[in-house]
């Protein structure tokens, strides 16, 4: 995408190297984040495709042993979460559109923004190095899962592979913390005159809530990673080592105190984008704007007090489990508010089914599906049967692989013309949508059956009874791959054909500030700050 399409706005744009490597412009950094997200997505997708090929029949076909499979599974999780979803939704769309939507010329701390981005490639390189250096006695790489539970991440992984992951994740974590500080400062201080908090577009709200979650959750991850690091040193600490008075379960509490808010970090910006798309293509303002905004705040707050529902089988006290059961169910309420408000926004609307709207509709439906299995898993009693089975895998891929990722594509198609200045080819985009939609459902729906029937997660090989649904699931991987192929084809085609996009190519329904600017927006927007009308009610 580099260097294309900005020629008619000569307003102090630096040369190629300075522009893309020293970038302090929020739009350029957003573009870098998006490119980075696409590259990571391809790496993470390759890892998962290899896993699906391995699992398409019983026996060990592709991987050398269980360790190699575990390495792929662990790295798939880490790369998709830290290097694909988070950079895309927060770094990419957040950087691009939060300043524009609130009527600000740029982010509050442009140089810190640059640092946030450039920490990520360094982090990803650390993770990629870990593939090729010794992990455990069974081979290279770290195979302890994305959750990195000790002792498998301490005494169980003596080689340097996991040290590289710690360093990489610390870098990625600091990148996110800096990003969060930047977003909070920008949103609280740099809104245009008249842009009160209660007039702020929902995407900006979602990024604000997400930034607070990042700011509070990631230091806990950083601390627990550092504790792992010192535990790993010979003669070091023993925070998680029972032989030294430590407790491995302590790590799980610390990890999930970060890990649960993390899932909302990934999904909340998607909520924000879907809200805009639903409103735009229904040609109606968002229904229950305040309810939508505060539902996200509620999800963020409650998200911090439910972490141990990931740990129902570790041997916790029953009263503690009862509390986490109840608290977890509470999350269903604000989530329900959001779902019903989207439906009510569409109700009475004049709906056009453009590509972004198709992704948004699919998002809503699939998120409901993933959400209700979450209600099932919240029941600590039932979770005993489902914990660490493929039911859980199906559940979190429905909310992430179909929630967050559908949100990302929804936003991508919605703003593609705005960001690049070019229109995409509808047929290629439709092929991408339908193949992807069918593909991921074929992959993940049968995994509910596998989980109910008792197939545990993170297995390189399985009893023959599980063959049928694994076969179906792997078949879905081919369909999804074809979908991704069309996505890349769509990108290439759009940049070759260069069909120019107007300032507001979606028409009446698109009412936020980015649609008042040209496509792509000028290198520096809002030299004169926009003034938001007092009676411009949501």
């Amino acid at each position: 995408m580099a260097g294309i399409g900005y020629d008619d706005h000569d307003d102090g744009k630096p040369g190629f190297f300075a522009r893309w490597f020293y970038s302090t412009n929020h739009k350029d950094i957003g573009t870098l984040y998006l490119i980075f997200g696409i590259i990571s997505g391809i790496i993470g997708g390759y890892l998962s495709f290899m896993m699906r090929m391995e699992l398409s029949e019983p026996g060990i076909q592709i991987f050398e042993n269980g360790h190699a499979y575990n390495v792929f599974a662990s790295m798939h999780g880490l790369i998709m979460i830290f290097f694909m979803v988070m950079p895309a939704v927060i770094g990419g769309f957040g950087n691009w559109f939060v300043p524009i939507m609130i009527g600000a010329p740029d982010m509050a701390f442009p140089r810190m923004n640059n640092l946030s981005f450039w920490l990520l490639p360094v982090a990803l390189i650390c993770l990629l190095i870990s593939f090729f250096v010794p992990g455990s006695a069974s081979g290279n790489g770290f195979g302890g899962g994305w959750v990195m539970y000790p002792p498998l991440s301490t005494s169980g992984a003596p080689g340097p592979a996991f040290d590289f992951i710690i360093i990489g994740l610390l870098a990625a974590g600091f990148s996110s913390i800096f990003g969060a500080i930047n977003f909070i400062t920008t949103i609280l201080n740099m809104r245009a005159p008249g842009m009160t908090m209660h007039k702020m577009p929902l995407f900006a709200w979602s990024v604000l809530v997400t930034a607070f979650l990042l700011l509070l959750a990631l230091p806990v991850l950083a601390a627990s990673l550092f504790m792992l690091f010192t535990d790993r040193i010979d003669g070091g600490t023993g925070f998680f080592d029972p032989a030294m008075g430590g407790d491995p379960e302590m790590f799980q509490h610390l990890f999930w105190f970060f890990g649960h808010p993390e899932v909302y970090i990934m999904i909340l910006p998607a909520f924000g984008m879907v809200s805009h798309v639903v409103s735009t293509f229904s040609k109606k303002p968002i229904f229950g704007y305040l309810g939508m905004a505060y539902a996200m705040v509620a999800i963020g707050v409650v998200g911090f007090v439910v972490w141990a529902h990931h740990m129902y089988t570790v041997g916790m006290d029953v009263d503690l489990k009862a509390y986490f059961l109840a608290a977890t169910l509470v999350i269903a309420v604000p989530t329900g508010v959001k779902i019903f408000s989207w439906l009510a926004t569409m109700w009475g609307g004049s709906i056009s089914f453009s590509i972004p709207m198709q992704w948004a509709l699919a998002f809503i439906f699939l998120f409901v599906l993933g959400g209700v299995t979450g209600v099932m898993l919240a029941n600590a009693g039932v979770d005993v049967a489902l914990h660490d089975t493929y039911y859980v895998v199906a559940h979190f891929h429905y909310v992430l692989s179909m929630g967050a990722v559908f949100g990302i594509f929804c936003g991508f198609y919605y703003w593609f013309g705005k960001m690049s200045g070019y229109l995409y080819n509808k047929w290629l985009a439709a092929a991408h949508f339908w193949l992807f939609f069918i593909g991921v459902n074929v992959i993940f729906f049968p995994q509910h059956f596998l989980g109910l029937n008792g197939m545990p997660r993170r297995y390189v090989d399985y009893p023959q009874e599980f063959e049928l649904w694994n076969q179906v699931s792997s078949f879905g991987a081919y369909i999804t791959l074809a979908g991704v192929g069309f996505f890349l084809l769509m990108l290439v085609e759009a940049f070759i054909r260069k069909r120019p996009a107007g300032a507001n190519y979606w028409g009446d329904g698109a009412t936020t500030l980015e649609w008042t600017l040209s496509s792509p927006p000028p290198y520096h927007q809002f030299n004169t700050l926009p003034r938001i009308e007092q009676n411009d009610e949501h």
């Binding site: 539970y149 109606k284 089988t313 041997g315 489990k321 599906l369 029937n453 009874e465 049928l468």
Partner: protein, 275 residues
């Protein structure tokens, strides 16, 4: 084609889903919980099925609503959009109704949780230790039975039961409340037996406990698999439990943990004479 046939057959079965009895291990193309062998798993299955109908109802409701909205309010049928953005009654309703549904759900859910967790007066104890990568079983109440290691069988010996079958199964009596103490010698593991409705992590430096009581008439061999990532052979540390009659268990104990030739054992539900 076989795949297609299997899927159609399974989809047909989906319509009459809950309540179909399954065996004590995963079933070919199985799509539901394994058949319950203990009161806890019976209750767990009941709660699962209860919650299942609720979440199915919610999903269908949203699906039908979306379908109707997409049909009725498409740009073609409804060229001018309304401007309604508030309806207090509606907003209160979609907050209150989910709360009521959750309250209806939380009562049986708590009941199951406490039933599962509250250890009753157990009649005997077994101790399970997770190693990399096998299970070790001990009988503290029966000191003459030496603790033993249960290793997975290789494909040649296990045949169709590869990754389930072991060289030495845990032997327990039927109709007896059994306390299970679970720990680990190194990595985390998880002792999981789906048909019993138990899954408890094996954590080094910690002894977790759970319990089960196999229903009368449910003698047979049951299988489970390690359910917490424990390294290279995580997939290959199955759990095999042989549930025998109380008399057979007594003679097994009297014989220092070995079946005499006269005693029968149970393989996959059918009785097999030992040589």
């Amino acid at each position: 084609m076989r795949l297609v046939h299997n899927i159609t057959a399974s989809l047909a079965l989906l319509l009459i889903m809950p309540g179909i009895a399954f065996a004590n291990k995963p079933t070919d193309g199985g799509y539901w919980l394994q058949d319950a062998a203990t009161p806890v798993m019976e209750e767990l299955t009941k709660l699962h099925n209860f919650v299942f109908w609720i979440i199915l109802g919610i999903t269908l409701f949203v699906m039908v609503m979306m379908g109707w909205i997409m049909f009725r309010f498409s740009a073609k049928r409804n060229p001018t959009a309304s401007k309604t953005t508030h309806h207090v009654g509606l907003e209160v309703a979609w907050t209150i109704v989910p709360i009521i549904i959750l309250l209806v759900m939380v009562v049986p859910s708590m009941r199951l949780l406490y039933f599962q967790d509250a250890l009753p007066e157990t009649e005997m104890t077994i101790k399970v230790t997770g190693n990399t990568w096998n299970w070790e079983y001990a009988y503290p109440d029966h000191p003459n039975v030496e603790s033993f290691i249960s290793n997975p069988l290789e494909k040649e010996d296990a045949g169709d039961l590869y990754l389930l079958k072991t060289d030495a199964s845990l032997v327990v009596p039927v109709d007896t409340k059994i306390k299970v103490l679970i720990t680990s010698s190194n990595n985390l593991h998880s002792f999981a037996v789906p048909a019993f409705g138990i899954k408890m992590d094996a954590v080094p430096g910690r002894i977790n406990e759970t319990w089960f009581e196999v229903n009368p008439g449910k003698e047979g061999t049951y299988f489970g698999q390690c359910s917490e990532l424990c390294g290279v052979n995580h997939y290959k540390m199955p759990i095999e439990i042989e549930v025998v009659s109380k008399e057979d268990f007594q003679s097994w104990v009297a014989n220092d943990g070995a079946f005499t030739t006269a005693v029968v054992s149970y393989d996959n539900g059918s009785i097999v004479l030992q040589d």
